[in-house]
Symmetry: C2
Subunit: 155 residues, 2 copies
DNA sequence: ATCCATGCAAAAATTTTGCATGAGC
DNA sequence: GCTCATGCAAAATTTTTGCATGGAT
């Protein structure tokens, strides 16, 4: 299953969910902002441009639905609101690095958890379907600034 | 630095934070419930038994403080509230498995991310200080029940 | 006609803030 | 007396819910 507009609409349809214009514009928001991790309110603001009469509750309900269907993935970066991104489940090697200084989120891919998952299932009986890996630290820019600042402090 | 009551109080003291009775009972709540991942409200309820006049705002402020000082770690399991646990930073190999059916959280330890962190820092310049790894899936009990249910469905 | 989805408004739940009070040095 | 921490209440923020309306089959 691909993450294309049509593939997702088909999936909805097959599961007997209506492919309403509201759901379509919300999907589009994610497809056109694949680099972002959007919150409900951000989605609402984006979507209102094309579909001004949409309600925030509809956005919440749609995000819930799409997350339930594994089309979106819920993430929480600790800024007080739930964020969503298109599920990278097929690739599954999709992780985040969060800068504790500026809050920016970088991505990277790696598959090294596959073997660990199998081992864990064997050892614990826990049947793993997905994972989330987040690294916290300081991005190159902020790390450099911190270094500079501590030079100054040292004077 | 250890995660003992005294070690943490010393750390607070050294950083010029007062070791108030409120902060002490909150710390105790975590030390005595090391297996749990407590939310602010849960901490509040635990702590009220020993210190009934404490306010919820104090709990929030204390949790913020302790998280800021890396004594607690903020986690989010997607249940709508921020949770906290004593920071396992020294061991650093502390991860979670979250059951999508019953919501229970199991823990496990593994050190396989160490080498990846070094590699990432080399490749991207992102200076990693911590990470969080969560696995999602179905615990042994729920996985067994799901299996049973699909047997029944198949009849 | 029925059923699902929607918009709006209200409510709920979580977290933050302002401010006067109080404890400790 | 000064400063920091606290309790309380109010406010802000995020999310959920109830309900009447509307659209599609």
């Amino acid at each position: 299953m691909e993450n294309t507009f049509n593939a997702i609409c088909q999936k909805l349809h097959q599961l007997d969910y209506k492919v309403t214009p509201q759901r379509q514009v919300i999907l589009q928001a994610f497809l056109e902002n694949a680099a972002e991790h959007l919150s409900a309110e951000e989605v609402y603001n984006i979507v209102k441009e094309r579909y001004p009469e949409i309600g925030l509750a509809t956005v919440y309900r749609t995000l819930d639905l799409l997350a339930e269907l594994d089309i979106l993935q819920k993430i929480n970066f600790g800024d007080g609101r739930t964020r969503y991104e298109l599920d990278q489940h097929e690739t599954h090697y999709h992780h985040h690095m969060i800068c504790l200084e500026c809050g920016r989120v970088q991505e990277f891919d790696d598959d090294l958890l596959e073997s660990l998952e199998k081992l864990l299932t064997q050892q614990t009986g826990f049947h793993i379907t997905d994972h989330q890996l987040k690294f916290f630290g300081y991005c190159r820019d902020c790390a450099a600034q911190k270094l500079k600042r501590s030079d100054v402090d040292a004077i």
